[in-house]
Amino acid sequence: MNLDEIKDTFFTECAEQLAEVESAFCVVQIDGLDIENVNAIFRAVHSIKGGAGAFGFSDLVSFSHVVENALDIVRNDISQGTDDRLNLLARSMDVLSDIVDATREDGEKVDDAEITAELKAMFNLGGEDGQPESTAVEIDYDPVPISLTDLDLGDTSSGNVFEIVFEPKSSLYENGHDPQRILRHLGELGTCTTVVDDSKVPALDTLSPDEAFLGWTIKLDTESSEEDVREAFDWVEGDCTLSIKLEQPEIDGGGDIDDILSGLEDFDLGEDPDEAAPAESNDASVEDAGAGGKADVTVEAVVEAVPDEKQNAAGKPPAAANKDQQAAAAKKSNQTIRVESQKVDRLINLMGELVINQAMVSEQVTQDGFSSSSPTALLMVEFQNLTREVQESVMAIRAQPVKPVFMRMSRILREVCSVTGKKAALVLEGENTEVDTTVIEGLTDPLTHMIRNSIDHGIESPEDRVAAGKPETGTIKLSALHSSGRIVINVEDDGAGINRERVLQMGIEKGIVSENADLSDNDIDSLIMAPGFSTAEAVTDLSGRGVGMDVVRQSIQSLGGRISISSKPGQGSQFSMSMPLTLAILDGMVVRAAGQVFVIPVSAVLETFNMKPGDVHKIGNDDQVLKLRGNLVPIIQVGHQLGFCGKQDDNSGGTVLVVEAGNNAMAALLVDSIDGQRQVVIKSLESNYDRVPCIAAATIMGNGQIALILDVEEIIARQSRAAAESNSNILKMEMIA
């Protein structure tokens, strides 16, 4: 492993830490401030700082140091966390994240002077900032990154280096203390190099579970006095052997690799102990560097030994240990690994093959005359259940809830509100709706802009709202649901709605529409998504950061989605995006028509119905309708619509599925029979072929054959005249565009 790879690991970690920070802020916003979340945020920032220090990313170190100091004040006294301060902190996290990005991309330096000044002013940080390396950077704004050794010199010349030998006795554990907490505390005092001493751990068969065998040697580089360091061990003094020695400050810093390691260890100590990935990377780097001595028991050993040292040392069965780890994992809400989606896709494909293959073996077993109670058949059943379970787990990897993206929006909302002085609350609905990860990734940017837009242009100022008889705080509702085999995401605000007069006027000014164009309200609303349209005079500094609505439309379209707007003056606007669930799992109704098997998304089906002679009525020469509780629903013959067979005249006694499309259009799909309901994996037809009219996607059935998933919306649209109208609308839009 080379330095670049270690850096990559660091940046991956940073992204995870920042995600953690975001979710902690979300919780704070909903449930109020509590010490645990502040600690989580603090830990994350601290970890980033630690790692950044090791690599000599001076911009990152200096800024995260300021943020950390600010957080420390809130951490020490929770009442210090006023709304203003939290808002500022939330904004600082944005800047921090920008700096991380800039550092990774070697991009332009992010200007953090302003927010640093704000932070210092609001948290009265000026005098407390004791770390020379950061003050130096802040004063000079030296764009040249400080090299590792320079950084270290700065560090060591000012601080003390303690060598702490800490060997817990068994009584320490009996009294409910946890060395991990102590080590973490030390980690907060300064830079730690921790080496675990496992030389006393006996062979497994002579090992007593009640005794303590592990000890640690910690090299702590800190500005704190010995007293402060000793304080960490206050509660365990009688329960351990402890020696704290002050070493001479090292002048030469001890070589780059060591520094990186110590930085990374620091990075790890702030973490929950069950993250193996970074620990591994440390291990590898140690091996590479060929560092001798106790290098083989570095962080990984600490990491695993710390949480339940007694149990693990006692040779607890792996399953039980695993359970503990799971509990630990549950504590940390957002434990993730990053995997290339291609790998997952491949896994899913192979899994599908396995399921089909399993079904074939199973069938063969039956054919070969094994009775259903024979051991072979019973094993086959077990095999089948296992395959199912594995398949479900594999599928679950690719589909992810939209929650993380939604959570991010609440932060955007805060940010925009604080800038505009407007008040708005975010209501989330259906945030656990699962979509394919690619869709999720593509959603972030358009949603961010739409939320900004909704507050900036939609929600009125608090005074205006009160004057209009609305509650002072506006509401923005963000919801996600599955509908007709697509995911529909709505952004709804209760603001002023679209000012059609202005939009039309702007459109004419910009030459997007001609002056005498006859446009419906809907057409006018859609104008805001036309390229080149921007209500420039109303644009605040916020929108300057984002993208235009036409870019939003484009990015939604690139996901294969559609976007529509509805707006009521004085009551608010609703943006509705509907996107396909490529590769997601779908609950499907399996039906037969014209001898073929089709899947209809269950979400689109309102009811299924066996028609009786009186239910079908002919209208005109060709068309038939179903009379359903007083409503007339057009009957669409699926086989005929798809061109597989001719139209049948007598359909009484047939089976129909009453379906509904997004625009409330209803239809009764006539099929030969309904085979049942099952979960299917959506497979793209586009990857090797092309879009097929009326077909949303394909799936592979248990017998290995392909079944087509119907696009209910398009089938209805093709049939009804309303479709023709909406088509011409779309055409009009395109002409305008």
Partner: protein
Amino acid sequence: MTDTDFQKSSADNEFIAFLVNEHEFCVDIQYVREIRGWSHATPLPHSPDYVIGVMNLRGAILPIIDLSARLGMSASDPGKNHVIMVAQVGEKTFGILVNSVSDIVQVDSEQLRSVPELNSAVVKDFFRNIIVMEDRIVSEIVLESIIPEFEAEAA
């Protein structure tokens, strides 16, 4: 160096020959991924008549093209006597329905003849080279032209 040169030159002129309605054709072997037996294909609505449907190839959706119909001959009635040649052109993988695969032929450059000026559009569009062997004449199919043209639609 000599080795790779040799491989390259031989690969350049290696073709898989197959039969469609007793006519012999071939394609460049580099495009062919595998050859498998016929199994049920699911028909696609509103598709050209030479697209038989889609098959499951280890979890991927594989469109099947009836080469006979594509070349303007009669549409095949696919069954156990047919085989599918799985070919990849660019990003797209698709299957070609043929009667049987006869052999792999290695051809010297001098055996390759350009297509003579004929009146038939099929010949112009779909054939690249004519391979003249001692006892037979085999036409090389241009796979890129066989697959339906989506690009035009998309733009």
